[in-house]
Subunit: 293 residues, 2 copies
């Protein structure tokens, strides 16, 4: 596990440096817009999704440098989704990654435009940093995962779940799969595509990504209930306050922990065929299961 | 001019049919999200930007059917920008294309997600409907035009111009160029790219697009001051009410009309070398100069 933590820290530093490079300079005009894009993206974040791109890439022989633009595009899409989700009309969160959310540090209009600009930047990055056949595949992977039938549907279900309690396990799992797993799956597919993985191997890492996403979201909801704001760098007990439909409401913290362990086990099972090459990747579910922030 | 109006009406019908086809079905779940995407995009709109893609495509020998996915992608990007700009934190408009704006017909959260979904869909459409080398070029054209250094900068300047009066003509023209011309230029570049136009010809249609965009925005601001809500299908006198910095504030309606005529003339001058092939395109500035809605 220490080996994984050290590796994740290395990835995090590499990703932060690359994001700094791919984002527009802060001195571009209008200055506030560009500052806010950097504020939202830099200075915090575990960078799990880009790490997943890099690790899956490694599994198929892709150098970190070659996977980095795609890893950053995935993180930029994730960041845009956080900026918009934190808006008053959505989750209305003031704190994120230990700092004020974008619309609190700036204002709502800026946060809307920052999210729009980041999403657009991510596609521009994919289109400009890879040869056309790869670029087009990556863009399709990301557009499907992040679009109306993927992450956005999940966000929509999440909002609907505040108004009307979702009261069966399948519906809650579907919501988690859409709002969270879709981008994890995309991260794995992107790594596989860059490494020229065959369909069968791609399906296995995609299934791994799905379970890792379900695990990640379940633990996120557990921590929202059990952790402190200092630990998480964001306000806690938000789900209960908003009356959100989560696995915690359905099964309690202990039930959710049991389910998280099931997802972690299932995630690893997907990678059985890869043997020692997947050793580091196999540590990820264990880490996500026990994370405290 | 009647010839152009008939042509624009044909384009509009073709574009509406194609949009209907490219948008997700209304019966997809979550139903409201998908209904709202269709509500925002269909049922109204002059479809000038996609017409510009089709007309520029024709100039370089591209069949309408081949240009249509890109034309629709440009219109979808335009629609996403309207949905977000109409939000309370932005321009706070209740009426658009003769109907309630997306956030009034649904709610703010839905409108934010609809905009996000449309933007993502546009890139997915470009990536999936063209061979990779063309797709990548089109995506780069659209991402640059719609991104932080293009349309979004223009929107940001527009918002800044409410807080602090922009009081020189160059700054207002720059704002119009960014918030409006960028997407008109992209429409022309897209048509040129699909027709394999050389750099010089592409530069000329791009310059045409820029002037047409400046003209369009100037007339938009004139109509906001002089027309009725019934004519426009949206609330009027909004710029003055919001204290926006516009050419009207700077030069009055008559000064703005003079400037619009300058843009129209300049737009046509860009196409002098194309001769009779550009005949229909040359009518567009005249139409935009005299439009009453």
């Amino acid at each position: 596990m220490e080996q994984l933590l050290a590796r994740l820290e290395e990835y995090r530093q590499m990703v932060d440096a690359a994001l700094d490079d791919f984002l527009p300079r802060a001195d571009m005009t209008p200055a506030t817009l560009h500052e806010a894009m950097r504020y939202a993206t830099l200075g915090g974040g575990k960078r799990i999704r880009p790490a997943l791109v890099l690790m899956t890439g490694e599994l198929f022989g892709v150098a970190n440098a070659d996977a980095m633009p795609a890893a950053c595009a995935i993180e930029i899409v994730h960041t845009y989704s956080l900026v918009h989700d934190d808006l008053p009309a959505m989750d209305n969160d003031d704190l994120r990654r230990g700092r004020l959310t974008c619309h609190k540090a700036y204002d709502e209009a800026t946060a809307i435009l920052v999210g729009d600009a980041l999403l657009t930047l991510a596609f521009g990055l994919l289109a400009s940093r890879y040869p056309p056949p790869a670029a087009v595949d990556l863009i399709q992977i990301v557009a499907r995962a992040a679009g109306h039938a993927g992450m956005i549907s999940g966000q929509y279900m999440d909002l609907e779940g505040e108004r009307r309690r979702l009261d069966d396990r399948d519906t809650i799992e579907l919501m988690y799969a859409l709002k969270t797993s879709e981008l994890f799956v995309a991260a794995c597919r992107v790594g596989a595509r860059l490494g020229g993985a065959k369909a069968e191997a791609t399906a296995k890492v995609a299934a791994f990504g799905k379970d890792v996403g379900l695990l990640f979201q379940t633990v996120d909801d557990i921590l929202d209930e059990t952790a402190s704001a200092e630990q998480l760098g964001k306000n806690v007990r938000q789900d209960a306050a908003a009356g959100k439909s989560t696995i915690i409401m359905m099964r309690g913290v202990v039930g959710a922990q049991d389910q998280a362990a099931v997802y972690a086990k299932r995630a690893d099972d997907n990678l059985a065929d890869f043997g020692a090459a997947a050793a580091t990747l196999l540590l990820l579910p264990q880490y996500l299961l026990t994370r405290q922030k």
